[in-house]
Amino acid sequence: EPEVTQTPSHQVTQMGQEVILRCVPISNHLYFYWYRQILGQKVEFLVSFYNNEISEKSEIFDDQFSVERPDGSNFTLKIRSTKLEDSAMYFCASSGTGSGYTFGSGTRLTVV
C-alpha cells in the first residue's frame, strides 16, 4: 500500500536554528498538507499546497514557516528560526481528488 514517508522521525534543534522537515507524498497525489500536533493536543492544520502554490494556511503558519516542493517528489516544511513552542509532532499528508488524506508517521521536533 502506498505510504507517505517523513524524515527524520525525530529532530532536536536549538532555539533560533532553522529546521527542514521532509516528506515524500504518494506519487500520484496532487494535494499536500502539513499538520502539527502538540503533545496531548489535537491535530492542527498548518498549510495546504496544490499546483505548486499554497492554497490555504492557518494563523500558525506565519513568516517563520515556508513550504516547498523542490523536485516533484519531496515536499518540505521549513521553520526559519525555531521557538520552544514549535516543539510538536509534524505530520505531512497527501491526497488525490476524491480520496481522503494519507498521513505520514510524523517528525517529532524538539526545540531546546
Binding site: 498538507y33 491535530v43 492557518s58 505530520f91 481528488t97 480520496s99 481522503g100 488524506y101 498521513f103 508517521s105
Partner: protein, 114 residues
C-alpha cells in the same frame, strides 16, 4: 465558527464489547467527515468516512453514524480488540475529499481491558 469536539476524553471497554466514540461538530457547511485512529508515535490512520448525504456507513467491524440535525458523529467498533486501543479523532471538511483542510477534534483515548 468552526469547531469539532469530543464528549469523552477516555473510554475504557472490555475486550469483546462494542465501543461507541462520539463527536460533535458545529460547521453546517461541512459535508465530509472522517474518523482516524492514532497509535502512540504514529500518524493518524484512516478508519472510515461518510458524506453528509448519508447517515450511516459500515466498514469492517466499524460503523459511522451521522446525525446532521444535532451535528453529531459517532464511531462504533464491534467486538473491540486489544489492537483497537488508540486515540480516535473525528475530522470534518467540505468539498471533494482531500482537497480542503481537515478540522480535527480533540481525540478520545480508547482503552481495551482484557
Amino acid at each position: 465558527g468552526e469547531s469539532v469536539g469530543l464528549h469523552l476524553p477516555t473510554l475504557s471497554v472490555q475486550e469483546g464489547d462494542n465501543s461507541i466514540i462520539n463527536c460533535a461538530y458545529s460547521n453546517s457547511a461541512s459535508d465530509y467527515f472522517i474518523w482516524y485512529k492514532q497509535e502512540s508515535g504514529k500518524g493518524p490512520q484512516f478508519i472510515i468516512d461518510i458524506r453528509s448525504n448519508m447517515d450511516k456507513r459500515q466498514g469492517q467491524r466499524v460503523t459511522v453514524l451521522l446525525n446532521k440535525t444535532v451535528k453529531h458523529l459517532s464511531l462504533q467498533i464491534a467486538a473491540t480488540q486489544p489492537g483497537d486501543s488508540a486515540v480516535y479523532f473525528c475530522a470534518e471538511t467540505k468539498g471533494p475529499a482531500g482537497t480542503y483542510k481537515y478540522i480535527f477534534g480533540t481525540g478520545t483515548r480508547l482503552k481495551v481491558l482484557a
